[in-house]
Symmetry: D2
Subunit: 260 residues, 4 copies
């Protein structure tokens, strides 16, 4: 059967990324001592030589399917990308996948345990070296300092989200993502952390904690920047905070990025 | 050219609805004294006789395209559906379309004017008589009575949404949707209304208004039910409220429906 | 600490459903011989007496959290709802949850194995008796009979989705959802099934199979209706098909519902 | 009333972007001879000095609201950003907004006219100079060369989308976006263009046109690259194509970017 993909191409364009997107698979993520099965949405691509017409995309799907049973950590991801480079005869391969990761939370007073879902996006690119980024979306409460100051009582507050994208230096040397401790660092900058289960004594605690700790979206962003700067092994980061304002139907926003 | 759609069908199933979905068009909506151009997402369907294999869907697109220049009110929608019944040789036609409608808001103290977008969904079905429903999604603020009561200061509050679906009796007699006044009725049941533009004096007003008017999602729902019961010309209604809790990443919810 | 939720209410409205929405949790689904861990988005509600002001929503979150480790089947879901009725002192409880369920597929010629994700939504309501519905969204290929007939070569085809919602009679007697066999029944009505991994010989097979089996969206819908009518234990069903037309940017659609 | 936003900040972080997101407004877009009212989703931000605690976000909403009545072109957008810099006392302002723009299409044989919606995203940033990018999402048909070649009859085809992001050099000198002609350039690289209204003779035309012009996602991408390279006034571009494969439930993808 003719291999149409393998035909010669004369347009002299090396394609930077081609492959499959919108692939859903259950995979295993290794994080610290823990292995979690997660539902992942995957984009898996390779570079395509200027001499070849098309990619053998079914091979990408085969590689993914072969790797859903073993826990993924940085080393395993790198091995998949190396294998992909060989199998697809290319010098670049990238695996970009997102999933909900669950963090165990204990309510601040009652200690009731619950699971908070965190959106995680991992992007790993292998050319000569490995490039790796980890994006976390962490929800929390923000309480408006202006509203508190000018009002005789109360202060508007709302659900907020902080999106942090970390680009690792020397990605090869990373043994672990440490999602859990990164989430703790990020949510510590909020007016208050949030929890799936709160009994009444916890609700009192969270309400008062937020009221005692009013922060603009810009305050949270700046504190996130200071916190992220303490991380080792980063080459760059991007951070953005978005407050789903309770007094508007639009959002307040702040973003910042730095190279290290 | 052969008309494959018009072939006979022997499966003896009259299809209740077939047509086009996901159609985007700019249309004009007539509401009270006002005509607004809106971006609409449309589902346009007809019944298909058990004797015929397929619908001529291009005719549905032609009818839509011919009707984007004149303002739509109930009478005009009914005429489109009557024309559709004739053109498609069917006894049932339905037009189901959603859009953002903008309501002029004045900030409570400064009187600053701004535009608040409301999601509207109109579903009109013509068999012998016209059936008509109007769905509104109205955003506002809710402030938690429990949090206020048990906390030494502050109270968690958040953006909420109320979705009201009104089914009209005697739809033929309705001359006007009155979107604006329905939105006013719905948002009046909240802890506080919200506004796209709030100067500092307005923010103080909204913060204090919400604090003075704490309501559970169940409180708001019940007050919505009482308010909607005062409307004339309804055959039924559905109402649901959802609070995007500032202290959780999930939502609090309440729903209720009644026939009249 | 005062129990504000437990205050008396005088508005004389029994709320039909109140609870939590947008809750994400990893749960286990039992289907046939198989147990799958899935990521679930959950809505969990109860009725609220006209005498009481609010629901204790944290109890709903506690019940969910306590039940994520054991596989859910119909019996287990019923037990959770019974426990919820007791714990929340109510006569109605409902669990409505959606997830991606993975079906093992073998490519038609090469037999290559892969996993296809199916969107599943289960809604279980317990008043006196148990009401249970199962909604499946099954993707496949459709090829247009008109396009094939009138064109000298080729025929437009596209990805389609069929959404089937099954309402069970005597839900108490169901031991198993049988998701896998229901998916097989639904996809058998398409122009061709689809597969995550197709080698070249499979791609030839699928292309030719679809070309030999042209079907309008109405054809597929009618064949789905005939297929679903063969199922035992149903009290009603809804089915809709949507073709993401390759020659338009809108979709072709057909829907039908029946009581049994 | 105290101006909390205007308090001094000591964290020494100049925030790159802060402002409002998720703002919906009806605006007017000027494109060639045409002015279209569109529904826009807007992100409007400024830089914030390291010396100041917070932005006066209501001013951003006021500026947006004041500018919804006059048609936006590049010159007008620049003036808004200059005014914003002055009003918010900052050296950077950015307006990032998306909308559906409608293109008049004539069916290839019948000449039937219809409106095709194109997703457009404009990002304008003013520091010292104006940076401007225009992103278009253009839908069309792709037909698989491999499927055509290896199959005895037929070939799988599907809806595809091409996303092109154009970064303009000397943005100040651009008088017009020319959305319409850019869409024509992008869709000309597909297996076939698509149309909202197709009569039977048109459907035959489109079906045969696609069959005679089979293209992999990589073929379309390369032809888009060649086409975009002919554009004047660009400093860079990004292009990606995604095929919503009719034989899979995942997508085929290719992307490429270049600086000029």
């Amino acid at each position: 059967m003719i291999d149409v993909q393998n035909q010669k191409d004369t347009r002299q364009i090396k394609i930077q990324q081609t492959g499959v997107t919108g692939v859903y698979l259950p995979i295993f993520i290794s994080d610290g001592d823990e292995v979690q099965q997660v539902l992942s949405k995957i984009k898996f691509t390779v570079a395509l030589s200027e001499k070849i017409r098309g990619t053998h995309m079914s091979r990408l799907m085969e590689i993914l399917t072969e790797n859903i049973s073993t826990p993924l950590n940085v080393l395993k991801i790198k091995k998949i990308l190396q294998y992909t480079q060989t199998k697809l005869e290319t010098d670049f391969a990238a695996l970009d996948f997102g999933f909900k990761f669950f963090i165990k939370k204990s309510a601040p007073v009652s200690d009731k345990e619950s699971l908070l879902d965190i959106d995680v996006q991992i992007c790993a690119e292998l050319a000569n070296a490995l490039n790796l980024s980890l994006k976390l979306e962490v929800p929390f409460t923000s309480l408006c300092p202006c509203s508190k100051e000018i009002s005789d009582f109360g202060a508007h507050n709302q659900r907020s989200i902080c999106r942090v994208n970390l680009f690792f230096a020397d990605a090869d040397k990373i043994s672990d993502f440490n999602i859990k401790s990164l989430v703790e660092l990020i949510e510590a900058q909020a007016s208050s952390k949030i929890y799936p289960i709160l009994k009444r004594e916890d609700e009192k605690f969270v309400t008062e904690a937020a009221y005692k700790n009013p922060k603009f979206v810009e305050d949270i962003l700046r504190d996130e920047v200071l916190a992220i700067r303490t991380l080792k092994n980063l080459s760059a980061f991007e951070v953005e905070c978005e407050n789903f304002e309770s007094i508007h139907s639009h959002n307040a926003f702040a973003s910042h990025s730095e190279k290290m």
